[in-house]
């Protein structure tokens, strides 16, 4: 008798879970999809997007050991330079708001970021040093110059870095 009851409980629980799980698929529940805001500077990233998406951590890991232990301060895979390009225009940061560049993907993938306990999330000082910026540093100037509608004072202030 006990065994039948136990078996029955197992079957019912499994069925309930399956029913609950099945229903969830079509609904768009769960984490908000990541917002990949385009970087305001530069035409492309230092590596192709699909490679970056999967391997950015490897680049960062290798570079950080070289930078800290050996003092090699190349800019290509430098976290600071990533931040310089990818900082959100709204928050000025890569990890302040939920849809900022690093946080949006990482919260979707549920992978905790350890970087920003120590690293600043905001660019500071001259952002013109990145090689990619040399051609496109005034991209926004060009945008503003070609605008057909009026450019507001705040936009111009934001452009004049």
């Amino acid at each position: 008798m006990k065994r039948i009851l136990a078996l029955g409980a197992v079957v019912l629980t499994t069925a309930a879970l399956a029913w609950a799980g099945a229903d969830a698929q079509p609904k768009a529940g769960g984490a908000p999809k990541p917002v990949i805001t385009k970087a305001v500077k530069g035409e492309q990233c230092v590596e192709p997007t699909d490679i970056m998406r999967r391997n950015h951590m490897e680049f960062l890991d290798h570079h950080r050991d070289q930078a800290v232990i050996e003092g090699v301060r190349t800019k290509k895979h430098s976290l600071k330079e990533c931040i310089n390009c990818h900082a959100s225009e709204k928050t000025g940061s890569v990890a302040a708001a939920k849809d900022d560049f690093c946080v949006s993907c990482h919260s979707y993938a549920a992978v905790k970021i350890d970087c920003f306990d120590c690293h600043s999330t905001k660019p500071q000082g001259s952002v013109a040093m990145h090689p990619l910026n040399a051609e496109t540093a005034h991209y926004k100037h060009q945008l503003a110059a070609q605008a057909n509608s009026k450019v507001s004072a705040e936009e111009m202030a934001g452009v004049a870095q």
């Binding site: 090699v72 302040a96 120590c118 500071q124 000082g125 001259s126 005034h138």
Partner: protein, 259 residues
């Protein structure tokens, strides 16, 4: 392109004007970048692919006879450059990091007072490096003793081991107030880095030494102790200097005159 040819020089969208604006913009961009390039050359800084080299040994000479009583310029400069809160402004003074501090010494027999800044001595044989379980506390090839915060587990053994009380633990979250050039974070240990971020980009000097010189005291001199022609090497040959706790035989990177 006939439309272009028909435009005169005075119209806003003329090619000549565009070229002028383009040239002006390029000059402006060049002028922005140029100072960095020039500084790199003047301070014979390394290129960014080059790592730190043991051909160089960074060190500091402190002239305690020139250190002014009550002056905290070096401490202020360090806290500004590296982004730590000066202890006077800290809510938890006993837990506040202090990368550099002014020591006031008094001889009980003669009442003679001496002032000097005390910071990480960048030992050639650092006890903190010996005891660190993960190797996070390490000595770079050019003699700067650093904490690799990627590997620091916050065990504070280096703080126990340091004979100069140079190290501090970051006791609370810094809430994104760090300088972009100076990452530092909760739970990790830190100390004077000889402004490694400035050294690596070729500034050739530390914030504290710059501030002391700017204030006119000239008590701090930073430089390459391996270069016999450097300012610091020449001064070290002129002035008698001592190492703090010299009996420990740690071969310090910071030498003091006047103690």
């Amino acid at each position: 392109m006939s439309e272009l040819k028909s435009m005169s020089d005075n119209t806003p969208n003329s090619p000549e004007r565009r070229r002028f604006i383009g040239a002006a913009a390029a000059t402006a961009a060049g002028l922005t970048i140029a100072p960095g390039v020039i500084l790199v050359e003047v301070a014979h800084g390394r290129s960014e692919e080059q790592g730190a080299s043991s051909a160089v040994r960074w060190g500091m000479l402190v002239d305690a006879t020139k250190c002014a009583t009550g002056c905290n310029d070096c401490v202020t400069a360090c806290s500004t450059e590296n982004g730590w809160t000066p202890v006077a402004e800290s809510k938890h003074a006993k837990q506040a990091p202090q990368w550099i501090r002014k020591l006031e010494l008094q001889d009980p027999l003669t009442q003679i007072e001496t002032n000097l800044p005390m910071m990480c001595q960048h030992c050639a044989e650092p006890p903190c490096v010996d005891v660190c379980p993960t190797g996070a506390s390490f000595k770079r090839a050019d003699g700067i003793v650093l904490v690799n915060r990627h590997t620091c587990i916050g065990c504070r053994y280096c703080m126990m081991a340091c004979p100069y009380k140079a190290r501090s633990l970051v006791h609370e979250s810094l809430n994104d107030t760090q300088k972009a050039d100076v990452p530092r974070g909760i739970g990790c240990v830190e100390s004077c880095t000889l402004c490694v971020q400035k050294v690596d980009r070729g500034d050739g000097n530390t914030a504290c030494a710059e501030a002391c010189t700017a204030a006119g005291h000239n008590a701090l001199l930073f430089g390459d102790m391996n270069d016999p022609e450097s300012e610091i090497s020449k001064r070290l040959r002129e002035l008698p200097t001592k190492q703090v706790r010299a009996d420990l035989n740690l071969n310090l990177g910071v030498r003091y005159h006047g103690i």
